[in-house]
Symmetry: C2
Subunit: 105 residues, 2 copies
DNA sequence: ACACACTACCTTACATTGTCAAGTACTAAA
DNA sequence: TTTAGTACTTGACAATGTAAGGTAGTGTGT
């Protein structure tokens, strides 16, 4: 899978995943992997960035299946950010699709 | 416009543009700009990369409107490469669109 | 003749983001 | 007690787009 295509889009997928319910990192790796190939080394730094930018708040919770989980909760700022990001993606993808369709004629 | 979304996609747009007819750099900057914002500093290094990878061959041609133009012609290798890249992009964009649609429910 | 705008190309320093590989540590099953 | 699965972290690296600057040819207006 082309690594470049994912740039910026993984952020969108992670944010959208967390909008509905708080999730922890390892869970997100699996969730995002259903859409596009991704590995831990990509997701954890991304979560840290989004937290530093105040789009996420975090809290720890014990687990019976391993070490404590760090849960991510989206903030009001995160909500605004993801809505804007989604609009941008849709607009971008549509423009590219239109271009490719034109070229096919 | 989100700079990250463009990663890899500009390459696709440039390649697709040159499939039909040979084009020169400055012309490509304007062509690609119709689809997504882009500047010269992005396109010229990209053209060089694709030429180094033997996806393009180049030749110079005089112009009455300014300095000589460097034309880019796609090679057989370039054709194969762009077809594969387009398939990957379509597959990728569909997966992301599906995911976003799911989240909307 | 001179300045300016437009065409056309190139390059360097930089920022961002994804990959790979390694490491830490807890729980449970073989 | 070794192994597998869960869970988080980090550092060195690669790829690609951006910004800003430079060089040079052609044509227009003053």
């Amino acid at each position: 899978m082309n690594a470049q295509f994912k740039k910026g889009v993984l952020e969108l997928i992670v944010l959208k995943s967390v909008v509905n319910k708080d999730m922890y990192g390892y869970e997100l790796v699996e969730e995002v992997s259903k859409v596009v190939d991704v590995n831990e080394g990509t997701i954890y730094p991304l979560l840290k960035r989004l937290t530093n930018d105040h789009h996420f708040e975090t809290y720890l919770k014990e687990s019976t299946e391993g070490p404590p989980r760090k849960y991510y909760h989206i903030t009001a700022s995160g909500i605004m950010y993801v809505e804007n990001l989604e609009d941008e993606w849709v607009e971008f993808a549509n423009r590219v699709s239109e271009f490719l369709k034109e070229k096919k004629k």
